[in-house]
Amino acid sequence: MNFLSDPVTFIGNWLTGLVANLGIPKETASAWVTGVAVGILPLLAMLWVLVLIWYERKVIGRLQDRPGPNRVGPFGLIQPVADMLKIFIKEHILPAGIDRIPYNLAPILAVGGVLGMWIVVPFSATVHGVDINVGALYVIAVGAIGTLGIIFAGYSSNNKYALLAAFRVVAQLISYEIPMVLALLVPVLLARSMGMNSIVQAQPVWFILIAPLAALLFFISSIAEVGRSPFDLAEAESEIVAGFNTEYSGLKFGMFYVGEFLHAFTNSLIFTALFLGGWQGPGAEQFPILGFIYFFLKTVVVHFLGIAIRGSMPRFRIDQVMQLNWKLFTPIALAAFSSAALVEKLATNWADAARIGIHFLVNMIILGVVVLIGGRVFRARGIRLDALAQRNRAAVKFSMEKSHDS
Amino acid sequence: MAAETLLWLIPLPPLAAFILITLVTGKKKALSHSLAIVGAGSSWLMSLFVFIKAVTRPNLAENPMAASINWLPTGETALRIGVQLDNLSAVVLFFVAWTILMIFIYSVGYHNYGHPAGERDVPGLPPHGADVKDVHGHTHRVPSVEPMYARFFGFLSLFAFAMYLLVVCDNLLLLYTGWEIMGLCSYLLIGFWYGKDSAKKAAMKAFMTTRIGDVFMLLGIVFLYTQAGTLNYREIFGNAALMHALAVNPAGFLGLSQAGAIGLLLFIGTIGKSAQFPLHVWLPDAMEGPTPVSAMIHAATMVSAGVYLAIRIFPLLTAGWEPGDVGTPAMIVVGAVGAFTALFAATIAVAQNDIKRVLAYSTISQLGYMIAAIGVGAYTAAIFHLVTHAFFKALLFLGSGSVIHGVEHGVMHSGEHVDPQDMLNMGGLRKKMPVTFWTFLIGGLALSGFPVITAGFWSKDEILSGAFHSGQIVIFVTLALAALLTAFYTMRQITLTFLGQPRTEAARHAQETPWTMTLPLLILSIFAVAAGWSGIPEHFPLIGGWLPNWFEHFTGAMLGHEGEAPAFSAVPLLVSVIVSLAGLTLGWLVYRGVKIAVDPLKKTLGRLHGLLQHKYYFDELYTFLFIKPAIWVSEVFTSRWMDRVVIDGILHAIARAFLWLGKLVRQGFDVPVVNAGGDAIASGFKKGGAALQPMQSGRVQQYMVVMITVVMVFTAILLAILKLV
């Protein structure tokens, strides 16, 4: 166990040894160090958001043919820090008629729910928070707390727009939890465990290859869970001003802001762990640091994909959002999950390659059926996906022209 | 597939066809008759198959094809039903299959399939014909299609089912079932044109008359079952001890043995079904049904069932009899009835002008022949005549239907209103309807027993010979006389219908019928000739022995002992040749020159002709003897006196008494006690309810307080009790 191959464990052991040398029992020492780690991890995550904000603004800017932040520091690197400082020193405004407890609780829940997910993320072969045996379910459960934050914010603000936004977004979040959980069950089924680390360990072959449909659904649903474009109904300025956080400012607003960025990245982490093999890669077992790097790289790719979608898609209407979920995603997720269960049962004793092939084939068949039949049905009911896309393209073009003009 | 399995299946296709036609395809003509013909055809095919199997099977008589299953549990034993095919049922099955199929095919043409629907046709009446325009714009009157076409085939299929069932079954009860279904079909088909008053009456008459026979037959079956404990043919007839006991034990009435009594009771069923004297009256009237298809059923197929039954119970009738002896009392009765009917019906036939009625009476007469043959113990001869008669009588009836059909066409064409069934209105049809003429001629010659070539000759000859050898000269002479008359009226019929010159415009415009009608005629005419060749006696001069007397051997085996061919005697042979030829010649001589529509015999015979034409006034006699008294009893005695005066009077008295009693009870008890008490109780509940109403506040939470309190109190009580105990 040397520093280079597994630094976190090394430092942990070293610290434990150091504290134990002070005459404290080994277990207590270990608990203390764990406590320190529990303190450090959220801190790291929050700091990491600074990078995320810069990165995202930059990427979106480039996508939309703008330079993005470029004034403060080299390449605008210091811009988030400046924003942060500004937010810290802003006045705490408590609007009239608010409901104090939920109003103040809401931003905490919004960030806390996201940070809670980090507990179960396996960063490398040796570094992970708690490997509880229901990790995958825990992710969903903690995500539900974020929902509470939003509904509190909307309710307590004493603002119609905020309330409307909260209604919308809560309906959306609760709805998209269903395909998300169903999609999540597919890797659980394939790995035969709900522990996040076991799921990662069960992926010499990435699950995205075995269950591409579930991966797709999980990815889109997680975008909807974060409430980012094209599902960013909660902050549709033209309709409801700034959404559920209309009445928030200063640090409380900043926490919502941070929570959103962190949530997007966290979801990429979860997605990577569930479908892209997590820290798996050549040599990751021997050199956990490599696993950490693999994990990070994969996550960044996924995260970039999310940003790219955010930067290129206009938002749905609320009814379209709900229709997409209940009429398309939930049935597909059900079909994908039950077909995966069936194939697993039938092909238990087959060679891995054959089993994976069958899984992939079944996924493709379901996708084909959905595209063929579903497309026809949707068209017959006046919901033209291609027309939607066309409209979206036009809107993007329009907004780009506008940004050029300004 | 085992032949036994096929036996089970034989009756079923027509039943299926019946159900399908009745329930499903009633509106579709082509589909219905296709279904019916396919049903009859598959039964026909299976029948022929099992027939060949049966013929090639050694020792069929001792070891018939049979299979059975438990049906009705009767105490410890179960009534078994089953199928069996022995020598007798094999030959019967053979001709039944052929004739039924022919009827089905023939019916398609007879009911004018493919013709337009008549504009005035209504269900329940024969089609009136329809006007069609040809390409030149001329309007023709052509026969129109039967309005209830599909229904007819449905009934026909049901009939076929019953007939097959009757033939292949192995016990009397199942036979009785088939028998009754056929009775129903007969009723339905005679009354097929229920719009005609005469058809309605005829249907009822047929049904009621045969019912008399059926009741006795049922009595016979019950009697037999009580004595034998089974109704299976083989278990009864094959059980020597049982047969002996039946033959010896007296029945207790008329000095008959049990076997004789049972046999006679069953034979009364035959009398009804086969229209023997004195229950013959229904058969001529049955000609009211669709000409001649139902008539044909009533002549060639169904009535054969009666004879079939009589042959079946031959061992019962002859129990205790040895060949050569004078017959048992039962046999004498049977022989007398048969012979008398044969002559009696033949005399009536001479004076009838309706082409179908002649044949109907001829049928009665011929059936009488068979019955008489049974009566004199000529078992194989009876079967032989049953078979040949079925073929040539079917041929004749279908031929007569064809004639009527042709003449009807002429009637429509000429617009002349004459009865298309009256032979006096015909004449000279041989040129117009050649196929019908030749086949009818063959049938007629077979019926009259034209020597050597026709089937009828061989079978009739055997019966005469059997009668002669049995020593019952009276029967022999009667039958010979009947044969003479048969030949006479047959020739009369042929001459009046086909020979000479047309006597009416309608006959002049008669037309040959379509192939669906003539094809069955051709096929049946082959059998009318060839069926006889299977039973040529070995001792016959010149040609005897050329062909083996297969029929005698085959059916004779049924009796257990090899049918000992009676010593050949020239007397019956000569008699049968002479009466046949004489009758034919006489018939031709008398009727060859008829130019106007009057029967020359009318003048010669005078009042006797009237007597014959009115069928000895039997219908009138029965009306006077039975129907009038029955109506009187029901209308005057039962209805007016018994019902209205006596019973109604008693009832009214009782009613009045109860009314009075009721008033008393009401005023004395009901009003003061019951009503007042009831009202008091009701108002008590009302008040109680009003008092308790506030309890139902509709407030869930109040209920819950009460509930929890009560639960707690009870828990406390329970705990206290537990502590105490």
């Binding site: 409901d99 045996n133 707390i145 509470l148 809560v170 | 307080v705 929890i708 707690m712």
Partner: protein
């Protein structure tokens, strides 16, 4: 283990206080919030009972779904119950007395039972109880039928709730 007991006592205290607040605070939305707190405390208890699956399910179902639904309903019906009116009805004093008595009776019964003071049978729960549970839920010899019946119940409730909750427009004929 003292730590366990301390955690339990704190959690229990939080649960009880939150529960009492649920039934007593005048503002419905606060009652819902306190309910969430009580439910979260119960989830902690489940963790203490080493039933982590149920802890997570508790959070997902009760906090994530039921509590949110309740808050929704509260918001939708806000006008009806102005939060300043009396929130307790006239039975409240009686009810409090009855409930107190009920608690006394129940506690008395529990304490008189010998098994009440028993300790966990094997402290280290086999980690695979969740697998046991899953298998018994899908085993026809186990609880497959009740499980399926429960799912049918849920489906029926879903359909019924949608039907009842659907708005019947005035002037439009009822189906």
């Amino acid at each position: 283990m003292i730590l366990d007991q301390v955690i339990f006592l704190i959690t229990a205290l939080v649960i009880i206080i939150a529960a009492i607040l649920v039934v007593s605070v005048p503002k419905m939305i606060h009652a819902a919030l306190w309910l969430i707190l009580a439910l979260a405390g119960i989830a902690v208890l489940f963790v203490l009972l080493q039933a982590s699956f149920f802890a997570v399910v508790q959070v997902i179902v009760y906090i994530g779904a039921i509590a949110v639904l309740v808050i929704f309903a509260v918001m939708l019906t806000r006008k009806a119950m102005q939060d300043d009116g009396p929130q307790l009805n006239r039975y409240s004093v009686l009810a409090a007395a009855v409930c107190l008595m009920l608690f006394v009776v129940l506690t008395g019964m529990l304490l008189s039972w010998d098994g009440a003071s028993s300790l966990p049978v094997n402290p280290a729960v086999h980690p695979d109880t969740i697998i046991n549970l899953g298998e018994s839920l899908t085993n026809p010899q186990g609880y497959l039928l009740p499980f399926e019946v429960a799912s049918i119940l849920l489906l029926a409730a879903l359909v019924g709730a949608i039907f009842i909750g659907r708005e019947h427009r005035a002037g439009k004929e009822e189906e």
